[in-house]
Subunit: 106 residues, 2 copies
Amino acid sequence: MTDAHPVTGLDDVVHQRVRLGILTITHEARRVEFGYLRTQLQLTAGNLSQHLGVLETAGLVEIEKGYEGKRGRTWITLTPAGNAALAEEIGRLKLLIARVEEGFTA
Amino acid sequence: MTDAHPVTGLDDVVHQRVRLGILTITHEARRVEFGYLRTQLQLTAGNLSQHLGVLETAGLVEIEKGYEGKRGRTWITLTPAGNAALAEEIGRLKLLIARVEEGFTA
C-alpha cells in the first residue's frame, strides 16, 4: 500500500521501548556489561535476557560471556546491522516527530 | 533511581508502535474514522480495536459510534490527556535522538 503512514515502517524489534533502550545505551557505550544495562533500564535479569535474545536472534547485538577476576560477566556490543537498524529507527522517528510537530503548530 | 536512562521514562501505552501511530494520525487529522486508521496502519479490525481499547482505558482517546447514511461509523478523537501524552512522548524521543546522534558523530 502506498498510502500507509510512516509509523508502519517502524520495526518492532528495534522500536519496542526496552530494546530501543538496549540499543541506545550500547551504542553510547560501545560495549556494555549486562549489570550496567539492568541498572540503567531498571529491569529484572530475566526480562533483560529475553529482550537481548530477540536482538541477538535478529543479528543486532553480539553477546560475549567472560570473566572479570572470578566473576562471570556478559558483554554486549552492537553489530554493524544493529548500528544500521538504530540509525534507521532514529531517521523514521524524526519523520514522525516532524509530522506531529506540524500538527501542534498548525 | 537517579541514574536511569531516559528510555525508562517512555510510556509503553504511548510508545508502542501501533498506538503511537493511532495517536499521531488522530492528532494530524483531529478526528478520524476507524476504517481510515485501519488502512493507514495496515491492521486488522480486531488488532486496531484492541489498541484503541488500551488508549481509551488510559483516557487518551474518545471513541464515538454513529452513522454516515446507513453505515455504522466509529470516530476517534484525542482527549486533552492524549494530546499531552503525545507531546510528552515526542519530547522524550527528541532527548533520546540527541543522545544517539552524539554517539554517531563522536
